[in-house]
Amino acid sequence: MKDNNSDHPTSEPAEDTNFARHVSRIWLDVHSIIPRTDEGLFIPGMPLDPRDVEEGIVSGHKRPLPGDDEDDEDDADTPGPSKVRRTMKQRPARDGNSQGKSDTFEKRRPDLVLVDDSSPEHRQSRPFWRHIAVLLEVKRDREKGPNPADGTTLTGLAAQLADMARLHLAARPFMRFSVHLTVCGAIFNLAIFDRAGGVVSKDYNINKDLETFIRIIRRLGRDLDAYDLGLDQTVVPIDTLGSWKQYPRFRVPVGGSTYITKRLPIWQSTGLVGRGTFVCLAELEGDKDKTYILKNAWRACARLAESTVYKMVYSATEESTSGLTDLDGVAKFVDGGDIYDPQQPNEVVKVSSHRKGFGGPINENDDPVLHRLVLASRGCKLYEFTTFSQLMRAAKKMNSGTCNLFSLRFPLTLLQDFGHFMSVVLFTGTSVLVTCSLV
């Protein structure tokens, strides 16, 4: 698929339907526009509507709004104007929530981005965050670079990159890490951020290492595929990642089955370090009749896997649940487990898997493991029970199941992992604590 030595991007593949292997990217100057999210997808800290952050600003250059996209097809290639100058008092925060902040956390507007391009489609002026493959941040002075003078203190630019990385990872599904380039004066760096933190390269000087810079830009834009740039190697996008019209669907293996994701995600974490949970609807490949819930997360390796807990809940003996077979309010577990590395089938995918050969050593107990679950229902929240007797029945089942299950000494925090699907278990967890304290 890839041709390192051709000067033409491999944008028109012949037969390959794995769109992660299609390399067709362009650099966009977005420092004066705001990348957006798909309609209906809301990520805290990322404006849905650019007007939210542009309010109160009168600019000499009318910035096109999403609805205006049809009229400015060439805008993406047009050199942008300078950033609109604003007084600090009137400058809106880039998260659209508050005004007047100059904190680096509010600068959620990358300078340049390398985006996946869908050449047959009409290109619009504002790229989606999910189009972005690489982010590039430019600073005037080399002193603003990401590497600290003392070698350890978190710099402002590193924090800024990390903040954009968490949004990038939230908006672009199934990513293992987010790739960033920085150019500060004559110094340039490459950095990645993942669920365990980040790695920043040593400083390169654009004057002395211009050839290296050229090679890096070439590799990022023309050679490296989506997997090389952070996409989870176990999933296959079945739509182009640069599509404007369609949120890409992914073929995702879980256990012995393969599922196809549907539409926008239901929920996604916006934290950087941690589980990075991503939940979406999915259907079994070849069976479109039934919809499942697919949960993709990086679990702490020292914790019990969520799929294991579900299996234990559902394998509780009949006696321990007072002979009641179904579990009211608990999500129906279908399949799940840790994900194994396709290149090394005996090893699960961890953050350390993509950090081989660079970065500091990751603590063995702090090396997140990629984990997936498929559920057939989402369970019920306490306030969703329609009758009191139904709620009490669920509570009774939970309490009756506690002897066996909780003798295994589940930490309550483990149950909190189920927050989105197992509210009843949370409820029961509380009741169990009360029971224990009474005993």
Binding site: G60, K83, V200, N207, R215, D223, S269, G271, F358
Partner: protein, 125 residues
Amino acid sequence: MEPPTTPKHSRVTSIQHDSDMGRTPSYPTSHYPSSTNIDDAKANLKTILATRVSFNDPNIVNVLVKPDEVSADIVKALQDNISKNQVIKKFLADVRRKAIPLESHMYKPLVRRNCCSCFEYSCIE
């Protein structure tokens, strides 16, 4: 003797918004609560990340990007192209001399603040 009273509180009739429960909304039409809010994310980054970033890594470029896999012909062609491009040449020279102009010096300001504390188009002048 007055009977004991219970402090009055507003009756919760329904939970319509995530904000009713003190949560950051996660998805306009979703009832799933978000466990992440902006303040938490900031605190997360500033405190936890500080010890989790490796700086000055000498290998990440070679391992992740593999720049040496670009053929020498392409690099030479691109360098030739750059050497002929006056804009890039000037930019690199400015970088070398640490004389990169501020953006505000490169463009005519698009907006200016007038004495009435409001913005107006610079082209109106």
